[in-house]
Symmetry: C2
Subunit: 494 residues, 2 copies
């Protein structure tokens, strides 16, 4: 890898004219920026001090924001883990890249152990593209794009994959975040010694239930075990940033912090986080399910203390990373992410909508400060009656509905500036409604007209595909024989 | 007034030994710190960028926090205007200073135009005490402690009183905040030229419905008219702080920013603010009704960027101000406020409970991170059915009740660290419950044993006491004759 001093301070763009349709670029010789994506699991918008968490226990992340740029209107592409991560790595909506189901209407689907599908080979993942610019790519933590051999991260552009699990469910103690931290620091050190740029995808999971923290952080938070996990993550992020600075590569390393979906309120308060003033959480297309904490950090490039209201998406991390690497996005397919570098470096605002999907359905659309709901649903009465509640303590009549309510002809409209909590519908008869819905309806029409849904990957489950013989099982005499293949429709209740 | 250079940097304490029971101190010769209290009206905890408001439109207040100390656990003494303000100026709970009613159980009461009562002469107000240390005292904006001549601010220690009202209800345009700002800047300039310290009580009201902003701020906020008002206030606070700096007296002027009660959700979204992640709003003793945004600023004394979890109260502004003036609090009565200087200057934490009163009833108590509800009530079914909702979009079973529910024998317990939204009751049978409730019950017993309720001032209303002949009415030929006196019990529905 080139030393910091030899690297250009701005994003490299000299060789753009030479790029091919699949992002073939100038090769390893180009001086490209390192990329570190810090992706949290089920962390909510309201979980950081900088975003108003009342305990304010994230000094390192708050400092990261103070030195970088805070994104207040940044979204995931799905209120659930797997589709969100597939969208981040492909720059494409799950409905395009196949990370959705058609087993039921508007159902969230993910990749349980018995899922048959995974990331299709036809999808181009960020690390695959970055390799063309000479990047060394590592994923630490959660992959979530399929378990079968053909879906392995090393088959999709990553050079290294580190994952581990061992949590004491009783005490909530686990040193996993420390392992992930050490792995990150080691990778950065090793890369820095080489000549290649690197991409580190740090997809840790300590804030996903079952939540955990290592001993030194247990009991340190006002917020209980969940807060302990957040504190350990905060400390770890601080150490990663400091490491980059100490190695002298902070100015040649772009770091972005965000989360895969909103806080899992179903696990709150001990195992779930906070979505601040927003409605509901994970699994829903209300703001609490989809708006994410987000911070960009790149000393010497991003003006310190910046705040952006750019409508951003995890899919933009795909396009922005390519731009940082001097690569162009693939031109043979629809990419939903946009390059945020002008936003981050020059404070521009790019006009673009946010599409809120739940499975195969476009539930809502945000344009500017307006959000139109075309469908509303939290979960079924049946699930709700069992205590599964995605909106605990919250209830907005006609909005947090327990039946799937269609509003495609007369969407429910909210103004997220005046009403971030989606509590006050704008009157159907008002001029404001007419104007905003007309605009958003045009965007929807345009979006749907060009939409080519991908082959749904999350329809079929089969116990035979589970890993019955994990490495080391022979020594322990615990290898199991896989059952006969018996593919079934996966059950997606919400 | 002494110049900044001649003033001590720390709070003066040399003459404390000489103080009398009513706070008689060393007289004007003592070099005392100027005091500026910026009291907002119905502004909620979640209304500032520093507290997580998603539009982040308060750069000056956020900067004030960055240069000073942010209080995350700061409370009012009542979820309604008049009692809160009476508590601030007397350092005493409304149930002591008389700003409550016994007409009904647990009813919020204030000072409408026909109220007969007001601040009793027996109460010692902050400005009265500060006069003894040579302060010149000015109130700009809302007094709220009674309308009859004997209750006038100039009869209770203020030297100057500036108030004005003229709002275009249709457009929301009014330049009142500008008038209040100019009045503040002029007062500060004038005082700075003299030799006396000053106390400025800037009790503005632009965020109380009907909300307003001056022309230059109308339409500038993402948050609509309410946000315009907040932006104008933010701008004004920035100008006041800058003025202090330009006059060279910022290091001899203690400034504190807070609000009288939580955001009035009943007026949201166009006329009401945000209580962030907290439950309900104004009128209630849930966190949304009582927890306030709070910032202390005193360059050269308060370490920049401080954050405090001290349980604080508007009543502490009384005691802290006296301390700044080198005065001791009155010793002939119970003072509920505590001196926060050790907290502010040295980052100490003082162990003390917060009592949440609604009218004559102790509804809840906070100690540490635990809050015990002894009574729960939002408002009556009757009111609620008319659309009066203090908790819009929020509903916590058994907590946001529409009948007054007594829990004095088995209080509802919440952990505000894990659960700032008061959504998850701690199980009655748990050890945690036993321990916390035992502790809080002891505090309640102690509190009640020593409580001497004041004569309730807000029981009687009489149209005859209204101001039927305001100044200038003769010229306009609009003086009205007061009706015969007909005192009645005031009606306090919630």
């Amino acid at each position: 890898m080139a030393s910091a001093a030899r690297r250009p301070r701005g994003p490299p763009g000299l060789c753009w004219a030479l790029l091919g349709p699949l992002g073939l670029c100038c090769g390893p010789a180009a001086a490209a920026t390192n990329i570190v994506l810090l992706l949290m699991d089920d962390m909510g918008w309201g979980d950081l001090g900088a975003f108003g968490e009342p305990s304010k226990e994230t000094p390192n992340l708050d400092q990261m924001a103070a030195e970088g740029m805070l994104f207040l209107d940044f979204y995931t592409a799905s209120p659930l883990c797997s589709p969100s991560r597939a969208a981040l790595l492909t720059g494409r909506l799950p409905v395009r890249n196949g990370f959705y189901t058609t087993n039921g209407h508007a159902r969230n689907a993910y990749t349980p152990q018995d899922i048959v599908g995974g990331i299709p080979d036809s999808e181009l993942l960020l690390p695959e593209l970055l390799k063309k610019a000479g990047y060394t790519n590592k994923i630490i933590g959660k992959w979530h794009l399929g378990h079968r051999p053909q879906f392995h991260p090393l088959k999709h552009g990553f050079d290294e994959y580190y994952e581990d699990f061992k949590i004491d469910l009783k005490t909530g103690e686990a040193n996993l975040t420390q392992l992930y931290l050490q792995e990150a620091l080691d990778f950065i050190s090793k890369q820095q010694a080489g000549q290649q740029p690197f991409f580190l995808y740090w997809a840790i999971d300590a804030t996903h239930a079952p939540v955990y923290a290592s001993k030194q952080f247990l009991g340190t938070s006002q917020r209980g075990l969940y807060g302990d996990a957040v504190r350990e993550i905060d400390d770890s992020v601080g150490k990663i940033l400091k490491h980059l600075q100490q190695l002298g590569i902070s100015e040649s390393t772009f770091v972005f912090f965000t989360s895969d979906n909103g806080a899992a309120l179903i696990s709150a308060p001990r195992q779930g986080g906070s979505n601040g003033p927003f409605l509901c959480g994970k699994q829903t297309t209300f703001e609490g399910g989809m708006r994410e904490p987000a911070i960009a950090w790149w000393p010497g490039h991003i003006p310190a203390g910046g705040v952006s209201h750019q409508l951003g998406s995890v899919m933009d991390l795909f396009s922005t990373s390519l731009s940082l690497a001097g690569l162009q996005p693939p031109s043979d397919r629809q990419i939903d992410g946009i390059d945020l570098l002008r936003v981050i470096l020059q404070g521009k605002l790019i006009d673009r909508p946010i599409f809120y999907y739940r499975g195969n359905e476009l539930m809502a659309v945000r344009a500017g400060l307006y959000k139109a709901h075309y469908w509303t649903w939290s979960n079924s009465w049946e699930e709700h009656s069992k205590g599964i509640d995605f909106c605990p303590g919250q209830s907005v009549a006609g909005v947090t509905t327990h039946t799937q309510e269609e509003h495609t002809y007369l969407p429910l409209l909210f103004h997220l500036g005046r009403d971030p909590g989606e509590k006050y519908q704008i009157s159907f008869g008002s001029e404001e409604y007419q104007r905003a819905v007309e605009h958003i309806s045009g965007l929807v029409q345009q979006h749907k007209a060009t939409l080519v849904p991908g082959q749904p990957q999350l329809n079929v489950c089969d116990q035979a595909v589970m890993n019955w013989s994990p490495p080391g099982c022979e020594k322990l005499g615990k290898c199991l024989k896989a059952p006969e293949s018996d593919p079934k429709k996966c059950s997606w209740p919400h």
